[in-house]
């Protein structure tokens, strides 16, 4: 399929609307939640696709809006939100997911949750120990994808947490215990490789296969932990290769807030990775070209697509289309080939309000259009 230059895509999560959160808890919507539902419906048009749920929510009858139906409506909202902003590839804003670690782990055997760990201040998260061989109970995200496939008007792209990140965010007991002698650096590294590859083979690969069987063609494997241990980049790759072994889909790898140069060239051994979807805008500040790191890819002769992060998801300030176009221009300069560039926000936009997220995505789309016009019809 021939695409126009600089197609656009989302990367992951959106903030959940207030009406969805209240509705899922079977609460009657407060005034601001009702206003939010009504105003976004007027703007992106989604609620008419589930009129009974909409009416139950708006008329204070939570008993007639079961939580699963509210989640469906949340997924529909996110789809239309992203589609009407003009993106070429969309998903459901992860409307059914709460986070990206605990849910996948709970679909597997071999793990034990042992208590909370502080993330910062008074915020905590659950972190599991792997205490036995990893076994998948059932492929996950399949129902979610099937809903998206039934309703999406643009091309769906499914995000899924990668094996390295799932392992890195867990405590490694089982595989470390199998290492003989002192559990020092060398033993820990070997145990981590074994854990990641087992997770990939036994849990990720069957899940990806089930998703592909369900019709999923574009899959983004999220590895946000990859950058925290640059010396383990080869383990990230082993996990990616094991998870995608023999599978036929368009795979990308999303990494953010990392020094990508430190992960190269090891990362280039990810055989079936067609696209690097990386964050750049957050590091693109006055006096620092956040896109210059792309030159390293060119220096290694890598010719894969790049999902170019052009909107910072950690700041409310909305990048203008001109700034987006400038970022694309610089990426073309470093990569040398405009055909390889997809345009997207840096990461999931769940940390921003829906209004800011929408404005950022619209800017991404408009900026890509500006750059497209420039490269397809260069001024003489």
């Amino acid at each position: 399929m021939t695409r126009a230059l600089f197609p656009t895509q989302e990367i992951g999560s959106l903030a959940k609307p207030r009406w969805q959160l209240q509705g899922q808890r079977s609460e009657a919507l407060d005034e601001s939640a009702r206003a939010e539902l009504t105003s976004w419906d007027a703007r992106v048009g989604f609620a008419a696709e589930a009129p009974a749920v909409r009416d139950a929510l708006l008329t204070g009858r939570p008993e007639d809006a079961p939580p699963e139906a509210v989640r469906d409506l949340g997924a529909l909202f996110a789809l239309r939100f992203l589609e009407t902003a003009g993106l070429d590839r969309v998903y459901d804003g992860e409307a059914r997911r709460i986070e990206m670690y605990e849910y996948p782990i709970r679909q597997m055997q071999g793990f034990r949750f042992g208590g909370h760990v502080r993330s910062f201040d008074n915020k905590y998260y659950l972190k599991a120990s792997v205490t036995g061989e990893v076994r998948l109970e059932r492929p996950y995200h399949v129902d979610e994808f099937e809903f998206v496939k039934r309703h999406a008007r643009a091309e769906p792209k499914l995000p899924i947490t990668g094996p390295y990140t799932l392992a890195d965010w867990s405590y490694n007991e089982y595989y470390l215990a199998r290492q003989p002698g002192w559990k020092g650096r060398t033993a820990r590294r070997a145990a981590q490789r074994e854990f990641v590859v087992d997770l990939a083979r036994r849990a990720l690969r069957p899940t990806l296969a089930a998703l592909i069987d369900a019709g999923c063609r574009v899959i983004q494997i999220d590895e946000p932990a990859a950058g925290t241990h640059p010396d383990e980049a080869s383990i990230v790759v082993d996990g990616f290769n094991a998870a995608t072994d023999g599978l036929d889909a368009e795979f990308s790898m999303h990494i953010c807030y990392s020094n990508y140069a430190d992960l190269l060239p090891a990362l280039l051994e990810a055989k079936r990775c067609r696209q690097w979807a990386w964050e750049f805008a957050n590091r693109d500040t006055a006096g620092h070209d956040g896109y210059a790191v792309l030159k390293v890819l060119a220096d290694y002769g890598d010719t894969r697509e790049v999902g170019l992060g052009v909107a910072d998801v950690h700041r409310d300030a909305v990048e203008s289309p001109e700034v987006v176009a400038d970022r694309i221009r610089r990426a073309v300069k470093y990569l040398g080939d405009p055909q390889r560039i997809w345009v997207n926000p840096d990461c999931g936009l769940r940390t921003r309000s829906l209004s800011v997220a929408r404005a950022k995505i619209e800017s991404v789309v408009k900026g890509a259009a500006l750059a497209r016009a420039e490269f397809e019809h260069p001024r003489r």
Partner: protein
């Protein structure tokens, strides 16, 4: 072998405390109720440390949001900045921003020490950020050069030690992961030595421990050997025993023997074997055993189980002493 054991960083909060702090943030519990639970849990940690025979109890430093916050919130020149990743972990600290040359606020840090420690100050272990890690992990907008700032923070921490000595405290543990994660060289390394000289001048017979973790300590040994401190700790889950400098050390030998990145409990026999090997390679006046990195990377139960290993190691080492 003269063996000492104890915590080398903050202890995790109990599940009850996790729930209470969450409830407090959501307005579902009062400050008084939360304070009661903090005090109760600190007493539990202190009791645990006593039961395990630790030298230098800490009461867990459960109230500190992160290692730098008591300083960033009370010292002059600082403000509290954005969430920033804590080394190679999935936890975060709020990065101190230094807007002007820093100044100490007398009494401010002492007021934030775990209250139960005040009754047992002579035996307690005071946890402080090391001047190098503090410098590297803050956002320096003060205009001061990095070496000058390392030295200045060393002097300020020395003043802190002097004040706390006056309140009866005698053992000070400086958390210094960056000494091995990003070993300083040249003027920065000299500033580290100068900073610890300022601490030494304030000790007045007390003990100072520099505790490193998070990376292989090998590249930092030439500098670590020069530090005028009572003991230097290295994380043996990162540094191979065979890489320890050979020969006697004038400093105490700190060995991080519990891995705070896994819930897998260490085998006391295996730990004792490694400690003997380390001491044979590098004989030292005392051996300080503890967790390699901060145990608050683990849930409460797992951290407690890990600590139970240390008395068993101590017993195994005592049994094998000549």
């Amino acid at each position: 072998m003269n063996v000492r054991t104890g915590l080398t960083g903050p202890f995790p909060r109990s599940e009850a405390l996790v729930a209470a702090t969450r409830d407090f943030d959501r307005g579902r519990t009062s400050a008084d109720t939360l304070e009661e639970l903090f005090a109760k849990t600190e007493r539990e940690v202190l009791a645990l440390e006593h039961r395990l025979g630790f030298d230098g109890p800490t009461a867990g430093y459960l109230r500190w949001p992160d290692l730098f916050r008591p300083f960033a919130e009370t010292w002059e020149g600082f403000t509290v900045g954005p969430l920033t990743r804590w080394l190679e972990t999935n936890t975060f600290y709020r990065q101190p921003i230094l807007l002007a040359p820093p100044g100490r606020t007398a009494g401010a840090v002492a007021a934030r020490l775990p209250p139960p420690l005040l009754g047992t100050a002579a035996n307690a272990r005071v946890l402080l950020p090391g001047p190098y890690s503090f410098t590297v992990m803050l956002d320096n907008r003060s205009g001061e050069t990095e070496p000058a700032l390392i030295h200045r923070l060393g002097r300020l921490l020395g003043e802190e030690v002097r004040e706390l000595r006056g309140r009866g405290f005698s053992t000070f543990l400086f958390s210094e992961p960056q000494l091995v994660v990003r070993p300083p060289e040249g003027p920065r390394a000299e500033a580290v030595v100068a900073g610890y000289r300022a601490v030494e001048a304030a000790l007045n017979g007390g003990s100072s421990i520099v505790w490193t973790y998070g990376a292989d300590a090998r590249p930092a040994f030439p500098l670590l050997d020069r530090l005028p401190v009572s003991a230097v700790g290295v994380d043996l889950t990162e540094t191979e025993v065979e890489q320890l400098p050979a020969g006697p050390s004038r400093q105490g030998l700190g060995l991080g023997v519990l891995d705070s990145r896994t819930t897998l409990e260490e085998d006391p026999t295996e730990v004792a074997r490694v400690v003997r090997a380390a001491h044979a390679r590098r004989p030292a006046p005392a051996v300080w055993l503890g967790p390699g990195g901060p145990l608050d990377l683990l849930p409460w139960d797992a951290a407690t189980r890990k600590l139970e290993v240390l008395p068993a190691v101590r017993a195994a080492l005592a049994g094998s002493s000549p």
